[in-house]
Every structure is written in C-alpha cells, then in structure tokens.
Amino acid sequence: VWLPFPPVSGKDGIFLSLRSGTFSWLRLRAAALAVGLLAGCAGGESAGGAREAGPHGAGGVSAVDDAGRTVSLPRPATRIVSLLPAATETLVALGAGGTLVARTDYDDDPELAGLPSVGGGLTPSLEILASLRPDLVIAWEEAGAARIRPRLEALGIAVFALQTQDTAGILANVARFGHLLGREAAADSLGAEIRGQLAAVSASVPPGERPTVLYLIGIEPPLVAGPRLFIGEVLEAAGGRNAFFDVTAPSPQVSLEEIVRRSPAVVLVPSRDSAAVMARLRGAPGWRELLERGDTRVTVLPPDILHRPGPSIVPAAWLILRAIHPGAIEGM
C-alpha cells in the first residue's frame, strides 16, 4: 500500500508480496529445495568430501569466519543459535530452520516465534545461550571490542563471527553455512539462485539514462549507503548511479549541503512510516528546497527487507529496481 509500484503478476509476484515479507520467498525456496533433495539430489551432495577434509577427520566440518579464524566442528551443526536476522534467514533458506534452537528479539519470522529468545542479537543473554547447549553460535564480529565471542568460547561454544558488508559476503555466508551444516548442495543452489536473480534484476534495467540515487539510511544526521555496502551494490545492479559513489566508508554520515549540491534524482528511504518520512523531509530546510525544485523523487521502502544482508537481497533488488525505474518490465 505504501509502495508506489505497479501491480505485478505471475512469477514475479512473490517478490512483491510484502505483507508476508521476505519469508514467503524463502519458504518457497526451502520447499523447493526439500523437494529437490527428496527427488534424489541428496545423493549428489558434495558434503561428504568436505567433511573428510575437516580437521577432525571423517565427519568434521570447518569454515573460515570474518574474524579470520577457522571454525571447526566435529560434525555438522545441529543446534544453532543465530544472533543475526540475516544469518537466520540464510539458514532458513538453506532448509535448516529446524536446526535453530533460539531466536533474537529482532527475528520476525512467525515460524521462529515458538523458540526461546536470547534477547538482542548484539547483547544476548549469555546464560540463556549457554543453557540451550548450541553447537554453533553465529554472531556479529564487533568492531573495536569483542565482548560476546571470547565469553562464549570460554564456555566451550563454537562461534562463527560475521561482518557481512557486501554481496560477496552474502554469497560467502551461504557457502560457509553450507559447509558447517553439511548442506553444500543446498548452498550451491541457493548461491546460484541469488546470483541468477541479481543478474535478472540487472537485465531488467531499461536502456537509457541511469538516474543518480541516494539511499538514505538515516535522516538526521544524514547517513547514506556507500558503494561498498551491499545495498549500494544492489542499487548499481538495479540501474542507478550512487549519488555518493565516491565515499569509502560503508555507511558514512554526510552533510545535507552535499546532498543538496548533488541533488539526486531518486532518494530511497527505508522506513515503516512513509507519511512521517515525507512530512519530515518536506519540513526540513534543504530537503524542502530539494523537493520543491521537482527534480527529486522520494520513495519509502520497507527496512526489514532492505537491511538484511542475506537472501533478502533478492527481493530488495527487485524493490529497488521498481523504485528507480517504475516502468521497468522484468525480463526474467
């Protein structure tokens, strides 16, 4: 309702079923995978080979995390706590939702609602985590001061640290989770599908001018998505030019003056409250002038889908494509 997109029909419709969220797509994927595996693909799983390559001999699995450490498990993980919604989503998409033994307060998948919560993903209750006896915890690698990882490791719990910033990281997570769960075939197929979908988004960009796009993560102070952040990459793939193509930080704070000077053609704002965002921008000096000039179009997008560096990147890419090129026809 709050998205100014033309109604789409057919196969692409699933990417716009926003009410049910990203998970409709993920569940569809998980179901497809299950069917594929039952149909005999399971035998083709390359998991066995990777397991033997593990340091624990037969059955062991390992992968290198974003802290640069090799995380080894004696056998594929079966009791997992993911402290990151994007990782949770990736696990569900791999058909491994059943291995999750807890959720965080930020996971909104109704299928996880029955699991106990460990609190916030960055400040989980260590007690509850320990009591669930997970064989793998997926946590954010904190910049500056690691508080959670050393404590969990001291308790003998394996921690896989992530710091996913870009599309390559999202795809690497899929592959690495595949190793740690012994689901390489599922990972290969999920990875291929994400790549294929992103290519399909790029293929759907209409020829002609690529408008300048500003992705506004925060309004006051203005935080924008840089080209290195996955959302910045998606923005380019969806046929936009990042208004802040020249920044190095993933999500830098920029001055409003600079935004006005660059006067982007499209401003994408992730928010649940479209009306509030528009009212705020129309009332703010700088933004007001930019909008009154009429060359700038603002589109409000659902943050839950856009801010998860996981398989949601696919629906996010379609959303952004339609926001930048309202007339685009998807050539799947």
Binding site: L126, I128, R133
Partner: protein
C-alpha cells in the same frame, strides 16, 4: 557511636552483602531451582548449569560487589577531601580519562585481538587524567587547593568529553556502537581473572583509606584545623586522592561508568548512622557492595533476556530510597 555499636552494624551490613551475593547467584535469565544452583556452585550436576553458575553468575556477582564497594569508598573519600556533598568518584575527570582510553582502544580495534586491551586502555586513560589534574592543581595554587582541584577536574573532564565526541564522530557505525555499549556500563564481561585483578587493587586501597579515616574526619572539618591537630595535611591529601582515584579508575576499567553509587551510598550511611570516617569507610564499602550486587541482579532479571544498563537500576532504586531517607531525616 560506640565501638560495639559500630561493630554490630558492620556485621549486619556484612550479612546484607552475603545475602545480596546469594540472591544474585540464585537469579538470572535462566531459571534454575535453588538446589541446582547450590549443586552447580560446588561443581556438580548438569555441566551447563555449572558453567552458568561458576563462569557467568559468580564472577559477575563478585565483580559487582567489589566495584560497588570501591566506588562507595572512593565517593566517601572525595566528599571528605573536597568538603563537598556533591563530590563523587568521577568528579576529578577520572571517568572522562578512562572513557577516552577505552573509546580510543575500541576505535583502533585493539579490543578485537586482546580482550584485556580495552580495560587496560581505560585504566591508562584514567591514570593520565589523575596525573593531569593533580599536576595542574599543584602548578597553579598552593599544593592541592580544593577549589583549584575541582576546577581542574571539571575542565580536564570537559576536554576529554570533547575528545570522545570527536572520536565518535570520525569513527564508523560499528565502533560507535561498541563504544556506546562500553560507556553505558555493565558487568556482563566479568571474569574470575578480572575479579582477581580488581581485588588486588581494591583490598590494599580500602585498608589505606581506612587507615586515613581519623585524618579524614578532621579534614572534613577544615584543613587548617586538621593541621593544627597534627594531621600532615599535604601527605594525607595526596595519598587519599591517589588511592580514591585509583579505585575509581579500576572500577571504570572493569565495568564502565556506573553513576549514583559513589555519590549516594556514603550519604545514606551518614544519614542513617554516622559520619565518622572510621565507620563510614567500611560501612560505605559494605553498603556499596550490597547495593551494586542487588542492582546488577535486578538489571539481569527485570526484562530478561534483555539486560538493563546497571546505572539505570542504581538510579531508579537509589533515588526514591534516598529521597525517602532525606525526608524522614528532615521530619
């Protein structure tokens, strides 16, 4: 206060500390029957319960008690030295110095490679602040003039705060978040190792301040009076400032900045019982320990599994109690 009366009260406070420690170990985000807790504390039963009780709850309760005691003792000492009821452990810029050390270490990414780097940097920053303030005060007025010290502390503290804001502005979102977590103060990172190191600082410090109690009694009346009565004012001042600041620095290093305890606990002891520093120092230490341990227990269970910043609990519980005590005293 008679000696026997003071002894009885301290014994009572000691029992309260023990009770707070027991409650703190018994409660948590995971509900464990009391029998399991006792078994786990002795190393028996479910290994997960043993890990929760021995590695998470016990060291945390002990560190909270030690930090509460250190802050209350330090606050009582500053109130005597500065002859100012508003004095508290952070008044001379120690917290600002510690924060700049910790935030600097976080921004530079040191805390990733070594878990002890951030507390060590916080302690170093606090020491720099102490030395700067004491040197500044010594170089301006007569050695350690109270007013100059206060001004130097406020100015150095303001400068450090500006430095922290500068660092936070220039850093990335990730380090920003880590730094804010640190500055909110928490006992979540407590380990036995941390408790041990803290105790090494704390126990001699407490004994030293207790040894200075008679001098502090006289100094809280006035420095000249104290000097006439045979107190070696300069030496006592330097020693007391240094020890109280070191206790604060160690507290901030292990748990971040936790307000209210150091300001209010000594006042509660004064209002309820006595302002004699020979009683006030040990009583503040015990009451501070019990208060902080209890506050941390509440912080852990109030909205579990989410933990409240312990500073929120110390203020929410402490302020109404203190106001009630104040009213009762006036009436």
């Amino acid at each position: 206060v008679t000696l026997a009366g003071a002894g009885t009260r301290l014994l009572l406070l000691g029992t309260v500390v023990l009770g707070a420690l027991l409650i703190s170990v018994a409660v948590g985000a995971v509900r464990l029957p009391i029998g399991d807790v006792v078994r786990a504390a002795r190393g028996f039963g479910d290994p997960t319960h043993v890990a929760i009780v021995q590695q998470l709850r016990l060291p945390r309760a002990v560190v909270a008690a030690l930090v509460g005691a250190a802050l209350a003792t330090s606050g009582a000492t500053f109130q005597a030295l500065l002859r100012n009821p508003l004095a508290e452990p952070y008044i001379l810029g120690v917290s600002g110095g510690a924060a700049i050390g910790a935030v600097g270490a976080i921004v530079l990414g040191w805390g990733i490679t070594a878990a002890w780097a951030v507390p060590a940097a916080a302690f170093a920053g606090a020491l720099v602040a102490i030395v700067l303030v004491l040197r500044l005060a010594a170089s301006v007025g007569s050695a350690l003039d109270t007013r100059i010290l206060l001004l130097a502390g406020v100015v150095i503290g303001a400068f450090f705060n500006a430095c922290i804001l500068l660092l936070l502005t220039l850093t990335d979102v990730e380090s920003f978040r880590s730094a804010i977590f640190w500055m909110m103060g928490s006992f979540a990172g407590s380990t036995w190792r941390g408790a041990g190191i803290f105790a090494i600082y704390f126990l001699p410090g407490l004994l030293l301040l207790f040894g200075l109690a008679r001098s502090l009694n006289l100094m809280s009346i006035g420095e000249e009076t104290a000097a006439h009565l045979g107190v070696r004012v300069e030496r006592v001042k330097l020693l007391a400032y240094a020890v109280a600041s070191l206790l604060t620095a160690a507290s901030v290093a292990v748990a971040g900045v936790i307000g209210f305890v150091g300001l209010v606990v000594p006042h509660v002891v004064r209002i309820a019982w006595s302002g004699d520093y020979r009683f006030l120092i040990p009583a503040s230490a015990l009451l501070g320990a019990a208060f902080m341990t209890g506050a941390d227990a509440i912080a852990r269970v109030a909205v579990a599994p989410v933990e409240l910043p312990v500073g929120v609990v110390t203020a929410f519980v402490g302020v109404p109690f203190f106001l009630w005590l104040l009213r009762r005293r006036i009436a």
